[in-house]
């Protein structure tokens, strides 16, 4: 059923898109190819330009230079109303004076008479969408009578009602509490798979991006630092920024000599990195506690924190640097007592020259 709700998925392209606000370069030359039917995350810290990029895709903002393409069509300066996008706002932006059903039907109600479906057709569509987002029977409520998660679903249904060519979501889960966030995430994936729409969402939460997206574009200071599948981004970070931003990596300063990274007591392969000062990004699971005498970073174990299936070790190196390591619960017995010293071997990590 859901597939009848939308047209075939389209590809979206951005070529050299730039946008300044006053002196601030929000986007500084962005090239991006989004595959038809793909679920893409725009991930980055605040001020990285990700929301600006989304608004330019939607036609709510326009680039200073560059081009936006939907399939082969140039839509760079097409107005939002003509572009055929479904946009879900961070704060939902539901029409507060309209019922849920009227909200969802809005995009159909404002169509020109000859394009407008009949009242009966509109009602069928609204019911189908209420079903899709699992809000059956709530069509008569007002937005103020709904929970945050329910409002989010209404916003999604409203955006889908106009048969958009692409679906855009701005921090879709930002305003929700953790439990609702998790279930809605799964929901969005289900709806995306059901509709097959090309979908782009903005987030600053790397877990959300890794969890949900087919591919992730990581933005920093108005540029795309890396575009790749979640595992690529985690395992092959393209830059020091990406390595530091995803995977909760520890940042360790050291020296590279002849292709190996050296830091007090431990070392790590650093293929292709020139000799000199360097930074290693080591994820918590890339540490392994080892016995005294083996190669490893010397540190003091401050606290052991159970977190899901893993134990997190809060450690402090002699120079004061905090190191976070993760071990499986099965290894709990082998750990030294909190407050005593521990040795952490490096089993992996990514090294970038320091600049």
């Amino acid at each position: 059923m859901a597939r009848d709700l939308v047209r075939p998925a389209i590809a979206v392209g951005l070529d050299g898109v730039r946008k300044r606000f006053g002196r601030f370069a929000a986007l500084d030359g962005v090239d991006l190819e989004i595959e038809p039917g793909e679920l893409l995350a725009l991930l980055g810290p605040s001020g990285s330009g990700k929301t600006t990029l989304l608004r330019i895709l939607a036609g709510l903002d326009f680039p200073d230079s560059g081009q936006v393409r939907f399939d082969r069509r140039d839509v760079t300066f097409a107005h939002a109303a003509q572009r055929g996008v479904g946009f879900v706002f961070q704060q939902y932006a539901l029409f507060r004076h309209m019922s849920v059903a009227r909200n969802i039907a809005f995009g159909l109600d404002v169509k020109r008479r000859r394009d407008r479906p009949t009242a009966a057709e509109r009602k069928v569509r609204v019911d189908a969408l209420l079903n899709l987002v699992e809000l059956q029977g709530l069509g008569g409520r007002y937005p103020s009578q709904l929970s945050g998660g329910q409002r989010q679903r209404v916003a999604l249904a409203r955006a889908l009602a106009v048969e958009p060519q692409i679906l855009l979501l701005d921090e879709p889960f930002g305003a929700l509490d953790a439990a609702v966030r998790k279930s809605l995430r799964r929901e969005l994936r289900r709806i995306h798979d059901a509709t097959g729409l090309t979908t782009v969402f903005v987030t600053h939460d790397q877990e959300e991006a890794l969890d949900l997206a087919d591919r992730i574009a990581i933005l920093n200071r108005g540029c795309i630092e890396q575009l790749g599948r979640p595992l690529d981004v985690l395992d092959r970070p393209a830059s020091a920024f990406v390595a530091g931003f995803v995977g909760q990596a520890n940042r360790i300063a050291g020296q590279v000599r002849q292709g190996r990274f050296h830091v007090a007591g431990a070392d790590l392969a650093a293929p292709g990195v020139a000799d000199g000062a360097a930074l290693a990004f080591v994820r918590p699971d890339q540490f392994r506690p080892v016995a005294d005498g083996e190669a490893g970073l010397e540190a003091r174990l401050e606290r052991v924190i159970p977190r899901g299936p893993a134990l997190w070790l809060d450690c402090v190196a002699p120079d004061g640097q905090v190191l976070e390591a993760a071990v499986s619960r099965a290894d709990a017995a082998k750990l030294p007592a909190a407050g005593s010293s521990i040795r952490l071997a490096l089993t992996g990590g990514h090294v970038f020259p320091e600049n």
Binding site: L60, F89, A93, F95, R96, H97, V110, Q145, A159, V162
Partner: protein, 282 residues
């Protein structure tokens, strides 16, 4: 908390509460209610008949008609300009925006007499546009257009001031959502913006109307006090009072008061009617 056990630290002793409430009530009674009551007792001093007769005087009827005409013109004009100004200020960024906000408040800070005088200087016979207007037989000062202009000036801030904070609080998200769903600018305004601000707009219109009917200073300067022609109700009250026609003066004054009371009553009713599901401006 109403019960003694649940009293919070912020609660004052009973005598303080009583004193504060007493002062407030006394002040309102002495400064607002008593003078209003006097207006009505003076109007009815020689019976209801005399009072009604005073209102039937042709000059009084002309004044009432002029006041209603002025309000009927000034309020829609200010509603239109107030909507435009608050739309521009709340939903768009542009150079000179803070200057515009300051200018909107100007009528609040300028003495109405000064406003009236400035209109005389612009449109009067000796004014900038005077000769040009006279050559074409257009009369603004000492005529109805001048009175409407002066009233528009004095009542300009009411609607804009009411709408700007409301529209700013609501932001542009809903409008952007409407546009992204394919709505045109006009559709967006009538289906999304207008319903969200209708209560604030009504409230501003009522306040604006009350002031438009009651304005004295600016109108006094531009009117020329021609009885039966350019006298509005407040001006007529003054003329009758200066002629020691107390019943006449207070009868017209009482009618003005009634109009104001009806306005305030409507306002209170509006506040009750405001739906819980809709926007809450106040």
């Amino acid at each position: 908390m109403s019960t003694a056990k649940l009293r919070s630290a912020a609660d004052d002793p009973a005598w303080v509460k009583a004193a504060v409430i007493g002062v407030a009530v006394l002040f309102v009674a002495a400064m607002l209610v008593a003078p209003l009551a006097t207006v009505f007792t003076q109007a009815l001093a020689k019976g209801l008949g005399a009072s009604l007769q005073a209102l039937h005087d042709p000059d009084a009827l002309a004044a009432i008609r002029l006041t209603l005409t002025t309000a009927a013109l000034a309020v829609p004009i200010n509603a239109a300009f107030g909507l435009c100004a608050s739309w521009a200020i709340a939903k768009h960024e542009f150079a000179g925006k803070s200057l515009l906000i300051t200018l909107i408040d100007l009528p609040f800070s300028v003495s109405p007499v000064v406003a009236g005088l400035s209109y005389v200087l612009v449109f009067g016979l000796q004014g900038w546009l005077g000769p040009w207007l006279e050559a074409r037989g257009i009369k603004i000062i000492f005529a109805t257009p001048g009175i409407v202009l002066a009233t528009v000036f004095v009542t300009f801030p009411f609607i804009a001031r009411e709408l700007i904070p409301l529209m700013q609080a609501q932001g542009t998200d809903e409008e952007e959502a409407a546009v992204s769903l394919g709505a045109s600018g006009l559709t967006t305004f009538f289906r999304v913006t207008a319903p969200n601000i209708r209560w604030g707009l009504l409230y501003g219109v009522l306040l604006c109307n009350a002031r438009a009917m009651g304005e004295f200073g600016a109108v006094s300067v531009v009117s020329g006090h021609i009885r039966g022609v350019t006298d509005t109700m407040p001006l007529h009250v003054e003329i009758l009072y200066n002629e020691y026609d107390f019943v006449g003066a207070f009868s017209v004054a009482a009618l003005l008061c009634l109009l104001a009371v009806v306005t305030l009553g409507l306002k209170a009713l509006l506040e009750r009617l405001q739906p819980q599901t809709g926007e809450r401006g106040h």
